[in-house]
């Protein structure tokens, strides 16, 4: 049994910060089918296209019918625990440092028997609720929780290793002018965040919810303009080593096709804010956070980027804006690769039009700040990499997967009425 997680103590300056060693990273190409599912928080397994049998591990041909093609198929996340093993002295450094480590063997209801990281309440013959998680190395692994009690996964250190729970962590929201900020701050505080830094560009401009932000004792408004290298540098110099979760909310919405008045300026501003801004943040905060991936039980853990769903598809009606988001999205994937070595999860959150004034003419459904904030929180707690919020983002994702060329043709030419 584990005690609830205590708030971290201030660091002992005489001790070296624990460096991160990672669990095994090598995976076959087929095994990345699991990665895709885990990144989105789905419980989906490779299934033979010929005979329909699930297969774990992912194989190059089906052991049942010798068919060679697999698809990723969602299935019931349930099974029965066959064995529980607690390793007190594991061989690999990652597990040795976190021993004892529990692994369980679970026979899934859909057929295969899998090795999973196990919640401390898992018992032999007990029913297990399964999930696919990304471990500290960013690779998909199974996790089993007791189905009867549900357990409290957030209190399980093994679960925490694979997720980014805000509890006891210090968080930077990079642009407090994003309308999601008040809801996000409230949700993060409720989730037990220890401190929230809210970056604010153009301090001389009024902000409707500034007083509300300043009312929270755990919230500190700090000057930050991701368009300024100096501003980012000055913030990281002061607080870089005190941030465990970074949520980049900087945005620059200017709808319009590329022939709309002033679009070159708007698109350049959007690129500067979104793509270059993300790069400036990454250059300053990335190395510091990657160096603190194992700094205690609440070490640096996640980097969140908010993207338009149109980052993934062309949109003539949002040409410059979509371009800037696409550029930032591409960079975020490079950032993910860089930060993986430090155990930092890069989570990309995609949403359609928000309730911002800028999307006034966009058709419903739109994504409210409340829904977006909850999705960010759920994504962090679930350790996700890709989160699609709302019907528009989900729809774009599905259409791109089903028929990319059709999606390009249909979505790129969609006009949003005024």
């Amino acid at each position: 049994m584990f005690k609830p997680l205590e708030p971290p103590k201030n660091k002992d300056p005489l001790h070296r910060t624990r460096q991160l060693v990672l669990p095994p990273r090598a995976r076959s190409r087929q095994a990345h089918l699991f990665t895709q599912a885990a990144a989105e928080g789905r419980f989906a397994l490779p299934r033979c296209k010929t005979c329909g049998q699930f297969s774990v591990p992912a194989r190059d041909c089906c052991p049942n019918c010798l068919g060679g093609e697999y698809e990723l198929a969602d299935t019931a996340p349930s099974g029965t625990v066959l064995s529980v093993t607690e390793a007190d002295i594991p061989f690999l450094n990652y597990f040795r440092e976190r021993a004892p480590w529990r692994v369980v063997l679970v026979r899934l209801d859909c057929g295969p028997t899998v090795l999973a990281h196990g919640h401390y309440d898992c018992a032999i013959d007990g029913r297990a609720t399964m999930s696919l998680k990304l471990d500290k190395a960013g690779q998909a692994v199974f996790y089993a929780a007791p189905a009867e009690t549900g357990g409290d996964p957030l209190s399980d250190p093994q679960w925490r290793e694979m997720t980014a729970d805000p509890r006891h962590r210090r968080i930077l929201i990079t642009d407090g002018r994003n309308p999601v900020t008040p809801a996000l701050v409230r949700d993060l505080l409720q989730a037990g965040a220890r401190k929230i830094f809210v970056g604010l560009p153009d301090l001389w401009k009024p902000l409707a919810w500034e007083n509300e932000l300043r009312q929270h004792a755990a919230v500190q408004v700090v000057p930050l303009d991701v368009r300024s290298e100096r501003s980012v540098y000055e913030l990281v110099r002061a607080y870089g080593a005190k941030i465990e979760i970074l949520i980049n909310t900087a945005d620059h919405i200017r709808p319009g096709g590329y022939l709309a008045p002033g679009q070159l300026c708007h698109a350049a501003d959007a690129l500067d804010m979104l793509a270059m801004g993300l790069m400036r943040l990454a250059a300053s905060f990335g190395p510091v956070m990657a160096g603190r991936g194992a700094d205690g039980e609440a070490g640096a853990v996640a980097w969140v980027n908010l993207f338009s769903a149109y980052a993934q598809t062309p949109s003539a009606a949002l040409a410059g804006y979509a371009m800037a988001h696409a550029a930032a999205l591409n960079f975020s994937l490079s950032l993910r690769a860089e930060l993986a070595g430090g155990g930092i999860r890069v989570m990309n959150v995609f949403s359609g039009a928000s309730d911002s004034d800028w999307f006034q003419t966009m058709p419903q459904p739109r994504v409210t700040a409340r829904v977006l904030s909850r999705s960010i929180l759920d994504g962090l707690r679930g350790g996700l990499e890709d989160v699609h919020v709302g019907a528009v983002a989900e729809d774009i994702k599905e259409r791109l997967r089903a028929n990319p060329k059709a999606a390009e043709r249909e979505i790129s030419s969609t006009r949003f009425g005024g």
Binding site: D202, L203, W204, K205, P206, P223, D225, R227, S228, E229, R230, S231, R254, G262, C265, H266, D269, D272
Partner: protein, 260 residues
């Protein structure tokens, strides 16, 4: 031996009998800029990006890349800035006559009134009262409106409310009078524009921009230290960058004045 003007100037400068007053804000990314409705292109703040600083990108040298709007920080407005001045000759910063870059100035002290009223407007009567005390405003001189606005914090400096900026400026009549009756070279302020913050709502919107530039006159904005200048006679050195077809530019504005 006769003493030339340049000798007198050299003597005054080297002996310190001529004060040099800096009328310029530091060009900095966090300095407020003019805010237009956001669907319009904006006067972005200066961006300072480091090229190298004695590091791998340039081991022995330090330099930055600057990006700014022509109307960022302490800046100069040429006639081409406004639609009313678009067809005038020599209306851009690269073509403007050199002699217009160094001119004397009258400084109208409105600081007390502006402290009481952020929307204070400079009127013809106030200008005439000033003339009663200091003499007629000569043709070809700058008229600078002292408000002590430069002393404010950035929030109070921009003073943005739900209905726009609230900062002082001239009335339409005052600008008309300065152009038609006094033939000034230009009008300068310590606020973000030569116009008042609410001037977009005037009968003639933005009268200072519209009338000054339509008459081939200049504007200077975001000035500092006007309280350190005499009421009349300080020499204003305001040479904008020689930007191709430029509508204005940030610049270092200096004033030369007698020691007090």
């Amino acid at each position: 031996m006769t003493t030339s003007i340049q000798d007198i100037l050299a003597e005054a400068l080297t002996q310190g009998t001529l004060r040099i007053v800096d009328l310029t804000h530091t060009l900095s990314p966090d300095f407020p800029t003019l805010v237009l409705p956001p669907e319009f292109a904006q006067a972005t703040p200066v961006k300072i990006e480091q090229l190298s600083r004695y590091d791998a990108a340039g081991p022995a040298w330090y330099w930055n890349k600057l990006t700014f709007s022509e109307h960022t920080g302490t800046h100069f407005d040429a006639p081409a800035h406004w639609v009313t001045g678009r067809d005038l000759p020599l209306n851009t910063v690269d073509t403007m006559p050199l002699e217009n870059m160094i001119r004397p100035a009258c400084v109208i002290d409105c600081s007390s009134a502006c402290a009481a009223d952020a929307d204070y407007l400079l009127t013809v009567d106030v200008l005439k009262e000033w003339e009663d005390r200091h003499g007629k405003i000569p043709a070809g001189w700058w008229v600078l409106m002292r408000t002590d606005w430069y002393k404010k914090s950035s929030v109070d400096y921009a003073n943005l409310k739900a209905d726009g900026a609230h900062t002082p400026g001239p009335t339409q009549e005052a600008i008309q009078w300065l152009i038609e009756e006094r033939d000034i070279i230009g009008f300068g302020t310590e606020t973000i524009g030569t116009d008042a913050g609410q001037a977009g709502n005037f009968a003639l919107p933005f009268p200072a921009h519209s009338l000054l530039h339509g008459a081939g006159k200049y504007g200077l904005q975001c000035l500092t230290n006007l309280d350190k200048l005499p009421a009349r006679g300080a020499i204003i050195v305001s040479a904008p960058l020689k930007v191709l077809d430029g509508s204005g530019s940030p610049l270092r504005v200096l004033a030369l004045a007698d020691t007090e």
